[in-house]
């Protein structure tokens, strides 16, 4: 009967799927091992997870180095340079988050095994997302990465604030999924396929101007706007970020957001590239609002995690800028795509670094108030310098990596050259200055304010956190000084030719 329906066993390229398989196997091992380990040996799980990610990363790099590409299940699952670069990013981010959480989870009152299991689950969703070129695959990947994240946000389950973080994230997350799915159903109805490539052909062809397609594109974009916390769909983000355990916040603000952007990149640049008349203005408004509102609210934050939350909302605005200006010509599409990818890669390093410092400092101060960073320089000069590097990189001061991220965005704006693009470029430039104000304020507190409680005992930083700090600062500085290597990744990763 299967044969009658024209069913063929899909021809899978298991070598190309190696990273996914390794991550899946690792999470299975972690889940089972957790059952048999007593509390004293739970630390093994973080090691197992870490090694699993490293092995997956090895396969990703190996595939990339050999130029191995594959297109499976009729083009719904594609392993190409774009997919590999982003898989690599997700795995590295996952590894750094594990480094950040190892001591945090061990010392706090948390379930350890399940924590690592859920992080790995979510990462699996992201790794799959990088290859998903079909609406169904994208949907499944998105849910795979989101569902564990909802639970992780509420990981401090005896703390009402963490519960609240989780609930808010969950409710808005599922709403976004539903809206996005409805959009997908409309697009499917008019293009007759869930494959992005087919949709791309269809939206450039006959059905171009069916109003329901417009509605469909709009709904899908709104759904992802929730996921990447673009204003005005951002309200869950600061609350969730503040309530969740800090390593989870780092994970959400970097990995989960990147996941949303990866899906958006594929859907927009493959599926809807012919309809920039619909999404161009929409992303313009989203980008301008997200940058401006994110920065303005960040200005009056007193909690460092909330400040970073709003800063990451604003950063998402910069990542949206290339989307808004992509539509005008082939060259600008290319440079817009590269700009978004490069920004995502750099953003991951600097934001994770900043969160790692927050975790390290909170080990001593047990507080998230910016005021608790007062006089940090006097007892933790190393951390202060690192935090300053990350903050100034986020602000876009050369020669740090963040400057390059912004330069790529401005290049996209100028390559587009339309007056609306230039206007958005000016909005972005003004925002860069506003953002500087609060980044510099944090730096000011660390370097110039007195220690609030006069307690100058140095901070002991565990080796795992040191490793996380070392990795992130290395990336931020190395990219800043020698961006070729990295810009190359951005070029290679392009989906648009």
């Amino acid at each position: 009967m299967l044969a009658a329906a024209g069913f063929h066993v899909p021809n899978l390229d298991y070598h190309a799927l190696a990273p996914e398989i390794v991550v899946a196997a690792t999470l299975a091992v972690v889940l089972v091992a957790d059952l048999f380990l007593d509390d004293d040996n739970k630390w093994l799980l973080s090691n197992v997870s870490g090694w699993g990610l490293l092995v997956a990363l090895f396969f990703t790099i190996e595939l990339g180095a050999r130029g191995h590409t594959a297109s499976m299940v009729g083009g719904a699952y594609v392993v190409d340079d774009f997919a590999l670069v982003l898989k690599g990013l997700f795995l590295v981010v996952g590894y750094i988050v594990l480094l950040m959480s190892a001591n945090y989870v061990e010392e706090g009152d948390y379930y350890e095994g399940e924590f690592y299991f859920l992080i790995l689950c979510s990462l699996l969703g992201m790794v799959v997302m990088s290859s998903a070129r079909d609406l169904i695959t994208i949907f499944v990947a998105l849910e795979t990465l989101s569902l564990p994240a909802y639970m992780l946000a509420g990981w401090r389950k005896r703390d009402l604030r963490s519960n609240e973080a989780s609930l808010k994230y969950y409710l808005l997350g599922v709403l976004a999924s539903a809206v996005m799915l409805y959009g997908m159903s409309l697009v499917f109805g008019f293009s007759g396929s869930t494959l992005l490539v087919d949709i791309g052909k269809a939206t450039q062809g006959t059905i171009t101007h069916a109003p329901l397609v417009t509605v469909g594109i709009f709904f899908i974009a709104v759904g992802f706007a929730f996921k990447v916390s673009a204003v005005p769909f951002h309200f869950w983000a600061p609350d969730t970020y503040e309530g969740a355990p800090t390593p989870v916040t780092a994970f959400l603000s970097v990995a989960s957001k990147t996941g949303g952007f990866v899906a958006l990149l594929q859907i927009i640049y493959i599926g809807f590239i012919g309809r920039s008349d619909v999404w161009g203005p929409m992303f313009w408004a989203l980008a301008a609002l997200t940058m401006t509102v994110g920065n303005l609210i960040a200005l009056r934050q007193t909690n460092i995690v909330r400040l970073l939350a709003y800063s990451s909302i604003a950063q998402a605005g910069y990542i949206l800028v290339p989307f808004a200006v992509a539509g005008s010509n082939t060259k600008s599409i290319h440079s817009a795509f590269t700009a978004s990818v490069v920004y995502l890669l750099i953003y991951a390093a600097m934001n994770l670094g900043a969160f790692t410092v927050v975790i390290a400092v909170a080990r001593k101060t047990r507080s998230g108030d910016i005021a608790s960073f007062g006089g940090l320089y006097e007892y933790a000069p190393g951390l202060t310098v690192l935090m300053t590097v990350f903050l100034f990189s986020l602000a876009g001061i050369p020669p740090l990596a963040g400057a390059w991220a912004k330069i790529f965005v401005f290049r996209a704006v100028l390559d587009s050259g339309t007056s609306s693009a230039v206007a958005l470029g000016i909005v972005a430039a003004v925002n860069a200055v506003i953002a500087l104000f609060y980044y510099a304020s944090v730096a000011r507190v660390m370097w110039m304010s007195p220690v609030p409680d006069g307690d100058r005992t140095p901070i002991r930083i565990p080796a795992t956190l040191q490793a996380a700090l070392g990795l992130t600062v290395l990336v931020v500085v190395a990219i800043g000084i020698y961006p070729q290597l990295f810009a190359h990744l951005g070029d290679v990763a392009s989906l648009v030719r």
């Binding site: 320089y377 100034f392 050369p398 330069i407 401005f410 510099a440 110039m448 961006p483």
Partner: protein, 507 residues
């Protein structure tokens, strides 16, 4: 040219010095100080070597060092020096050991010294860079150490002043970055190759009049904040007053010159026509700055603030000379940059010494110091007269050339600006009178005389003040070809001619 990369060494040396200082344990501040002084003196020696080897009578860039940095973007490590930047480099190299030796940090010497050396590397980089991107990187690097120096080692209102300084200049930088990128990508759009190289961009002018005007505006606002030109100057009095002594010396002596240098190197050179078109606006702002700075300085009660406002007036002269767009005017502007660096730098150091002795900067609290510390008063008098522009001292040469240069091309602005010279004499001499004349009372009776060490630090600057006032020819000769080429370029592009008087200058 010699194989040794002098210019690269000028930037790398202080950077290495900063790294060395960071490596020294915090418990040994005396080693820190020795290392920092040794490094900055070595930089000065290198700069003097450059001055010695500099080929007089050549307009082009010398000691050029060029290495590809980021190939895809056409960015290179491109350094060079010409008559315009030569003396600013030497001035920078001179003022850093001067500031380091002349004042001490009251706490955490190590971090303070490291920031100073980073600042030196950044400042030299700005003056030497011939690549727009490289220039921008150094421009930003300069900000960060200055922010921490003011905020960490300044006086009561330091944190506010530091943030104000940072935000102001950063706003300008953001605009300039947009300007640089727009310039480069528009150029790439026309010619098909991406480059940040200053000379290439200037040679292949490729934008329409209105685009050029916008681009110039982006650069000009950024430079104008740094200079600062009149309506954008409000950060300066706060930053100067609250900064530690060495910070004020560097801020006035070097940092403000980054803006005026920027106008010459990037404003006039890249946008000759627009510079010519907008000259009246900038001349007017310059003149307003001269008068406004002088009047506000006259009513200050705080000696340091008074000098800060006098900087606004002096920088107005430099802008005036620059946008007179005559050889004399531009030359006067450059030599005035050097003069202002020497005299205001020394004035800030002297005010710092007064504060160390008396713990006040209020003019009303001081008085009669001439009786108890005649040598100190004499030194102060000399420096102040240089700032006033007394003939025979360096300040006169600069102001005179600026006024002549402006008079040739824009008569009325020169006439109004000349009143600024008189005003400067009024407020500075009046301040001197209140601080040093009269009968000393109370604390002022115990005012210590100038120490040997302080005298040794000040001596080279005083010597230069006199030397440049009496015999400025060597300086003028070295900068003349470059300036003449620049002014001719502006004339050619703007389709104007200099009045014949201006051509007949000394050769």
């Amino acid at each position: 040219m010699l194989g040794f990369p002098v210019l690269t060494a000028l930037i790398v040396l202080p950077a290495i010095g900063a790294a060395l200082v960071v490596a020294i344990p915090r418990t040994r501040p005396e080693i820190v100080k020795v290392v920092a002084l040794a490094v900055s003196v070595a930089v000065l020696v290198l700069a003097c070597y450059g001055l010695y080897e500099f080929a007089t009578g050549t307009a082009g860039f010398q000691f050029v060092s060029r290495h590809v940095w980021i190939k895809q973007w056409g960015i290179s490590w491109h350094l060079g020096i010409d008559g315009i930047s030569l003396f600013l480099v030497v001035l920078t190299a001179l003022l850093f050991p001067f500031a380091l030796a002349g004042s001490d940090a009251h706490h955490d010497v190590k971090a303070y010294t490291a920031w100073m050396l980073v600042l030196e590397a950044g400042c030299l980089g700005v003056f030497l860079a011939l690549d727009l991107f490289l220039f921008f990187v150094f421009w930003e690097i300069v900000l960060v150490p200055m922010y921490f120096l003011i905020g960490g080692w300044g006086y009561e209102g330091r944190v506010y002043a530091a943030l104000k300084f940072f935000i102001y200049t950063m706003t300008g930088s953001a605009l300039m970055l947009v300007g640089i990128l727009a310039l480069v990508f528009i150029h790439a759009g026309h010619t098909g190759h991406l480059t940040f190289d200053l000379q290439t961009l200037a040679r292949e002018q490729s934008f329409s009049g209105s685009t050029a005007r916008w681009l110039f505006a982006a650069f000009a606002v950024s430079f104008a904040i740094k200079v600062p030109i009149f309506p954008l100057h409000t950060w300066l009095p706060d930053a100067h007053t609250e900064a530690p002594t060495a910070g004020s010396v560097i801020l006035a002596g070097v940092l403000l010159k980054l803006g005026t240098y920027g106008f010459l190197r990037f404003g006039l050179y890249l946008f000759p026509k627009v510079s010519h078109d907008l000259a009246p606006l900038l001349l007017t702002l310059g003149v307003v700055g001269i008068i406004y700075g002088a009047i506000v300085a006259a009513v200050q009660r705080d000696l340091k603030r008074l000098i800060a406002y006098s900087s606004v007036a002096h920088l107005g002269f430099i802008i005036l000379g620059t946008f007179a767009l005559t050889t004399q005017g531009v030359q006067g502007g450059i030599i005035q940059m050097v003069n202002h660096g020497l005299s205001t730098g020394a004035l800030f150091l002297l005010v710092g010494m007064i504060y160390e002795r008396r713990h006040t900067r209020e003019i009303a609290d001081l008085g009669g110091l001439q009786k108890v510390a005649p040598v100190f008063a004499g030194v102060f008098m000399l420096v102040m007269l240089s700032s006033v522009g007394l003939p025979g001292l360096n300040g006169f040469v600069g102001e005179f050339l600026v006024l002549i240069g402006t008079f040739i091309s824009r008569r009325w602005w020169a006439v109004v600006a000349a009143t600024g010279v008189i005003l400067a004499a009024v407020y500075l001499l009046w301040a001197y009178q209140r601080v040093f004349h009269g009968v000393p009372e109370g604390e002022n009776l115990k005012f210590p005389e100038l120490r040997w060490r302080e005298g040794a630090v000040l001596a080279p600057v005083l010597a230069l003040i006199v030397f440049l006032g009496v015999y400025p020819k060597p300086v003028l000769d070295r900068m003349e070809p470059s300036v003449r080429t620049l002014v001719e370029r502006v004339d050619r592009q703007a389709g104007t001619h200099q009045p014949s008087v201006a051509q007949g200058g000394h050769r």
